[in-house]
Symmetry: C2
Subunit: 195 residues, 2 copies
């Protein structure tokens, strides 16, 4: 297979990109100056080589602790639990949260065979168990699996003597945190209710 076909194939592996779009992206890069096309290649290499998971919250990071966990102005008594590291960026953009995060890297999904051990649950329980945490806000997506995951987490965390709350249903049911505007995210955080 030649270089062009290989690149079309690789682009087509990305989510939401079909073969025609993959072809367009490939020929777009072919027409750009070489440096510019290589910048994308180098950015991908950098990400795969430099990005690791934060040892405290499992967020993506270039150091052992992520930038949020290292920030002394953040309130360590408040932990917001999200499904994916990408959700953190959306919540941060709302400016409505000054605590720390915890990234589950997924959610419970019996249909897809994803049980509690596929999540970073032990890490979260250890954080809460060590003390100093007043409240855990569950910000999993407000759909069936996200709700089930929140309920499961609530049952595991409440015995540890921590307040557990759920992000307010400002986000429409069946929606995806990634596609909600910042204002709604902010309101949903402010209107969280204790479980």
């Amino acid at each position: 297979m030649d270089a062009i076909d290989t690149l079309v194939e690789e682009f087509a592996r990305l989510p939401g990109i079909g073969r025609k779009t993959a072809g367009r992206l490939t020929f777009f890069l072919l027409k750009r100056p070489r440096d510019e096309a290589l910048r994308l290649a180098h950015a991908i290499q950098d990400v795969t080589e430099r990005v690791v998971f934060c040892s405290r919250c499992a967020n993506v990071s270039e150091d052992e602790l992520c930038a949020i966990c290292r920030d002394p102005r953040r309130d360590p008594r408040l932990i917001c639990v999200v499904e994916e590291a990408s959700d953190i960026r959306i919540i941060e953009r709302s400016g409505g949260f000054r605590g720390l995060y915890h990234v589950l890297h997924g959610r419970l999904s019996p249909l897809e065979g994803r049980g509690p051990d596929t999540l970073t649950l032990e890490l979260l329980e250890r954080r809460v168990g060590e003390g100093g945490v007043d409240e855990v806000i569950l910000a999993t997506n407000p759909d069936v699996e996200g709700e089930a995951t929140a309920l499961f987490l609530q049952r595991r965390l409440q015995p540890l003597g921590v307040r557990v709350s759920r992000i307010a249903r400002g986000i429409p049911m069946g929606g995806d945190i990634e596609f909600v505007d910042e204002v709604t995210i902010g309101e949903a955080l402010a209107g969280r209710r204790e479980l």
Copy 2:
């Protein structure tokens, strides 16, 4: 700027990819095994390093002559002129054409300041001037600028004693060759009319 932001930026430079999609692609790659993410980076590098333009027809190629120009079964008396190298793949898929190609790498566009010298016109005139070409089929897009480019080419090529034809308007006016199905492409080639 950290590695993740850089990659989001680079993805967002691609056509049709906004910042949110760029973020999704970045986090998709972060969750894949490292080898798999690097395959995309390497494919981009390969394309930028190995792909050149065919010295005869200006198609993309990994050798001095592209695979179509090297193929002895192709009819060198017939040249199909296209705007972009990507159009060749679409026409090839129709299976309706056994001649050679010529890639203009653009079209005339006075509004965007693209005159005849931005196209591979000299190369095409040299090919036709060298003889052995019976017919040049103009397969520029059937929109205003593509039609103007075809008219311009017809006036430049006809004095060289070659038959000049235009791909049939099977493709809807204002359309883009890239988005037409193979059958229509085949019919349009068969129904070409002499200019």
